[in-house]
């Protein structure tokens, strides 16, 4: 049983996707608070916007690691989300700071429900990928011993 680079990547990706799961949960809670009038949209955007780029960077970081480890299948799973993230960031409202959310349009039902849906989909995606990485890590470890 050798601890290969691929296995290390999966281990790291597992931990990082756990982090991303927390990001997604925070995101969902934040938008739910907006929907139920608990929070001021300006404060909410100020707290959400700084998290957008770290999330993207973490995700891109372990995808690149997978690329180096030659795990093409896993890369293929992650590329669509990266593509969507890039598309989303390119089409963000005019802003001088990093981030995606504009307090003046965030309360539109369309934007709000889109952000909410995004949160749920990301949560599901990272949860599933968490277990996938766990499985793959074990698989890589087991297969490398033989």
């Amino acid at each position: 049983m050798a601890f290969t680079f691929a296995a290390f990547c999966y281990l790291l990706a597992m931990i990082l996707s756990a982090v991303l799961i927390f990001f997604a949960i925070y995101h969902i809670i934040a938008f739910d608070e907006l929907k139920t009038d608990y929070k001021n949209p300006i404060d909410q955007c100020n707290s959400l916007n700084p998290l957008v780029l770290p999330e993207y960077i973490i995700h891109i970081f372990f995808t690149v690691l997978f690329l180096f480890a030659g795990q093409i299948g896993t890369v293929a799973l992650n590329v669509p989300l990266i593509a969507y993230n890039v598309y989303r960031y390119v089409n963000r409202p005019v802003m001088s700071q990093p981030g995606l959310y504009d307090p003046t349009t965030i309360m539109n039902a369309d934007v709000l429900s889109r952000c909410m849906r995004e949160g749920w989909i990301k949560l599901a995606f990272f949860l599933l990928s968490f277990f996938y990485y766990l499985y793959s890590m074990i698989y890589v470890l087991v297969s490398s011993t033989s």
């Binding site: 739910d32 139920t36 009038d37 005019v94 001088s96 003046t104 539109n108 909410m116 749920w120």
Partner: protein, 922 residues
């Protein structure tokens, strides 16, 4: 996939920012309604409550007739016999004279109209000038039995309709399928009236004035599915702070509100018994305080139904101290003048200072009113006006990257105490900068200093700007590219270039500061970016392209009048508006100038009487709990006299599960007004081409959807549409051709963006005029059908379709497009007319440009001038008159509004209908 169950959150909102006034109970109703919703409270049942004033049957048609003729005057009698409270009357009489309500839904007038128009498809009205007048003459008498004055005397009318037959007529009248291809002349010759909601007579007379509050569909669909099926947008249009002449004002120790959803008690609640009432929005049963049985008019205890809250759907409360987060602020005004070279050259400064000087005493306010002045070019100039100084002292701050305020306590001063100094400053200002050669303009730093200066108090900042900000933070670059204008696929740069102004606006909004812009620019000034500063702080934007004191006197006149109105109009400070609606309905999108602070709360640092709002609604839960849906808008503001007040408007509409009833209640003008706002949003998120397609698609989809409701026998051939939507294709075409949405290289970017902002900001009546101007023939004005207004006889010419086929060679036409009036004189107009109106012998001698008609003492001139004056007075802002000769270069101003004609390769109305037919038939 949707969010987690939101209903689980029942705690009180943390609401630090919403505060007690309206924020206290903003969440969803915290519990299920107590108990099942009572027995089906159908409209007829409502009428049986004791004490509800029922229409007096003694008023017959003759009164109606009298009403028609004296409609525009003040109400001659108080029909309901109410004294009102605190000087108030009944439902606010409209500030503008009223038109006879031609009710398109009740049988007779419409067929009459149709019959009056040249019937066969495609045939043009004969060239005899008499035709329109004849038509007009025939129609008048037919309208009279149905005419009513909306706010004053609905009773007698409703009595005649309260039978089952009346309602039946409404339904049939408005969903009557109409072949739009054959009935091309759909525009009625009298102003288009909104449909009357299908309510019981008692409720109908209580319904909010449609000029203040209306919905796009007067029958609310029961479910979102039904709404989707109809393909029409559901939304509300509100003009909450409209100037009203009769407004009941109540000062009472207790303001009765629902304990769970905080709805204000309104005419549409049910009284379960003498001690309890049932909220019409969340259906909770609430206790009625004892004070509520006290009738302030007669000073006796009795029925709660006699309270003004129950008798009027528009009402104003003087709020007790629970509604204040801080002591009411004094009226505070800051004026910021751009004094760079461009500004000085255009000469606006002297005009503005002169008007301000004249109106200084009429600024709304009390003894506490504060005022301040700042001027800026590449540096900022502050003025110390503290009482006791011998003359105003100016301080120059040239470090614009880190703004500081010199003597911050003396820059905003009490208007009364420092009046002489202020007057002296205003007299000197124009000459002080007359030789200024500085071309840089530091608007960004100026706004930052305004924020610093005003943030302890809040108030209104008025900014005059005449060139692109080019110094310090907030610098903008010219984005208008002439070569791109020819590209008809898309028009770029409709959105802001930087978020500096948006952030500034949000910061201002948080400090209860609103920023209003007056823009004077010959060149590109990037309204798309600049207007953000007003958009989210509840301000307004005024734009005077090509303003020059010598070269464009009409613009100067318009600015003078607008500014005068701006200074003297009512103003509300530190305002919030909350829109509550019946459980199941929710607000989808907001349109207007404000910041949306939560799902139903708008933050409006200032509110002015010319601001309109629209909200698109969605139906989240089926509305089967009640046959009625209600909307309530509550505007909490501080008046200029330092009183905290709440203005409440309530609208009640029937709910339906029939698609045909949804179509019957469709309010075309409301729909078009909402669609135009949605299209503006679309241009920002997508492209202008997308927005145009979306507009046409609404037309196609709704007509196709209507077709599916018809049986095969009814459908027939041609383009079939419901009678209620007969104007939709026409208005849609007009929208495609209006400045905001037309794909033409002749529209400057600023002009277009400004037109879009105005579509979003103006109340519905003015947006409709912008989209579809009204055209009157004025060469044969007669007293027939005239109304009297302010002791003057105002002729009421018929409204013509906007098509050159209705323009006769010997005619003169007046076009009202909201912000301007065009008097178009055709070449062969009779010399008599020219002589009597212009006092010149022939067509060629009519001077140009002409913005005023000479006052001549003859009937023709009197009638025309009275009519123009009457139109002018109907709106709060000023619309300059332009006299345009047929052979003038200016005629394009007039001709481009003839939307039914083919223009710049855009379809004519008939072609557009054919296009729709092709698409619907697919």
């Amino acid at each position: 996939m949707s969010g987690p169950p939101t209903g689980a959150m029942t705690g009180p909102p943390t609401g630090a920012m919403t505060g007690p006034p309206t924020g206290a109970m903003s969440g969803p109703p915290t519990g299920a309604p107590t108990g099942p919703p009572g027995p089906q409270t159908g409209a007829p049942t409502m009428g049986q409550f004791p004490g509800q004033p029922v229409g007096s049957p003694t008023m017959g048609p003759p009164t109606n007739m009298a009403n028609l003729t004296s409609m525009s005057g003040p109400p001659t009698q108080d029909m309901q016999g109410r004294g009102g409270v605190g000087g108030g009357g009944l439902t606010g009489k409209r500030a503008y004279p009223q038109y006879p309500n031609q009710t398109p839904m009740s049988g007779p007038p419409l067929p009459g109209q149709m019959a009056g128009q040249p019937q066969p498809a495609g045939s043009q009205p004969g060239p005899t000038a008499g035709v329109p007048n004849d038509t007009y003459g025939q129609q008048r008498p037919q309208q009279i039995p149905n005419a009513q004055s909306y706010a004053q005397s609905p009773n007698q009318y409703e009595n005649s309709l309260s039978g089952g037959m009346g309602k039946l007529n409404i339904q049939q009248g408005d969903t009557r399928p109409l072949n739009l291809l054959q009935n091309r002349h759909v525009l009625p010759s009298t102003p288009v009236e909104p449909p009357k909601p299908n309510l019981s007579p008692e409720y109908r007379k209580l319904v909010c004035n449609p000029d203040i509050f209306r919905t796009t569909l007067t029958s609310i669909p029961q479910t979102q599915q039904l709404l989707n099926k109809s393909k029409l947008p559901l939304g509300i249009l509100i003009h909450p702070f409209k100037d009203l002449t009769h407004l009941p004002v109540i000062q009472s120790s207790v303001i009765v509100r629902c304990r769970s959803c905080r709805t204000y008690i309104n005419p549409f609640v049910q009284f379960v018994d003498h001690r309890r009432w049932k909220c019409n929005l969340c259906y909770r049963i609430n206790d009625l305080p004892d004070e509520f049985n006290f009738d302030p008019v007669t000073r006796t205890y009795g029925e709660p139904q006699r309270r003004p809250e129950i008798k009027s759907s528009t009402i104003e409360f003087i709020a007790p101290s629970e509604y204040m987060l801080r002591p009411p602020q004094p009226a505070t005004y800051l004026f910021m003048f751009d004094v760079c070279f461009n500004a000085v050259e255009s000469g606006y400064l002297s005009v503005a200072c002169q008007v301000l000087l004249e109106e200084l005493d009429k600024l709304p306010g009390d003894a506490r009113t504060m005022i301040g002045f700042v001027t800026f070019d590449s540096t900022l100039h502050f003025y110390n006006l503290q009482e006791g100084l011998s003359r105003p002292s100016m301080m120059v701050v040239s470090d614009i990257d880190d703004i500081f305020l010199p003597c911050p306590n003396d820059l905003l001063v009490n208007l009364q105490e420092s009046k002489e100094l202020i007057q002296e400053l205003l007299t000197q200002l124009p000459s002080m900068f007359s030789g200024n050669k500085e071309t840089q303009s530091a608007l960004g730093p100026a706004l930052q200093s305004a924020l610093k200066l005003m943030s302890p108090i809040g108030g209104r900042v008025t900014v005059f700007q005449s060139s692109l900000p080019s110094h310090g933070p907030g610098t903008l670059k010219s984005r208008e590219d002439m070569s791109q204008r020819t590209n008809s696929k898309d028009i770029p740069n409709l959105g802001p270039a930087t978020d500096f102004y948006k952030k500034m606006s949000l910061d201002c909004s948080a400090q209860q500061i609103s920023v209003d812009l007056f823009l004077f620019a010959n060149n590109y000034i990037d309204i798309a970016s600049l207007s953000c500063v007003s958009k989210f702080s509840g301000g307004c934007v005024n734009y005077y392209p090509a303003f020059h004191t010598v070269r464009t006197p009409a613009e100067v006149e318009r600015f003078e009048n607008d500014f005068r109105r701006y200074l003297t109009r009512k103003i509300g400070f530190e305002a919030v508006m909350r829109i509550r609606c019946t459980k199941g309905l929710s607000i989808h999108t907001f349109h207007g100038n404000f910041f949306v602070r939560s799902t139903d709360l708008l933050s409006l640092p200032n509110i002015n009487p010319d601001a309109g709002f629209a909200m698109q609604m969605s139906i989240e839960d089926s509305l089967n709990d009640s046959p009625l849906a209600c909307f309530q808008a509550a505007l909490l503001y501080t008046s200029s006299k330092g009183e905290r007040r709440i203005r409440v408007h309530t609208l009640c509409l029937p709910v339906t599960n029939q698609l045909s009833e949804v179509y019957a209640g469709a309010d075309t003008q409301g729909i078009v007004s909402l669609l135009s706002r949605m299209a503006v949003d679309r241009t920002l998120t997508a492209t202008i081409v997308d927005a145009r397609d979306a507009l046409v698609n609404v037309c196609i989809d709704s007509l196709s959807a209507f077709k599916t409701t018809l049986s095969s026998g009814q459908a027939g051939v041609g383009l079939i549409g419901p009678n209620s939507l007969r104007l939709l294709p026409l208005y849609t075409l007009a929208m495609l051709k209006c400045t905001a949405f037309k794909l033409s290289s002749s529209v400057r970017l600023d002009e277009r963006v400004f037109a879009m902002d105005m579509l979003k900001y103006h109340p519905m009546i003015y947006t409709m005029l912008m989209i579809h101007p009204t055209l009157y023939p004025v060469h044969e004005l007669s007293d027939e059908g005239a109304i009297s207004h302010d002791d003057q006889t105002i002729p009421q010419p018929p409204i013509l379709s906007l098509s050159s086929e209705h323009l006769f060679k010997n005619g003169a036409y007046l076009m009202d497009r909201g912000d301007a009036l065009y008097l178009y004189i055709n070449r062969e107009v009779s010399p008599n007319f020219i002589q009597s109106v212009f006092d010149v012998p022939d067509f060629q001698s009519i001077g140009e440009p002409m913005h005023e008609l000479p006052e001549l003492d003859n009937a023709v001139s009197d009638r025309l001038r009275n009519f123009i004056q009457y139109l002018e007075e109907k709106r709060p802002f000023h619309a300059p008159l332009h006299v345009i000769r047929e052979d003038s270069r200016m005629r394009i101003l007039f001709l481009r509004h003839l939307v039914e004609d083919r223009s710049e390769s855009v379809m004519s109305y008939y072609e557009f209908l054919q296009h729709l037919q092709k698409e619907v038939g697919k």
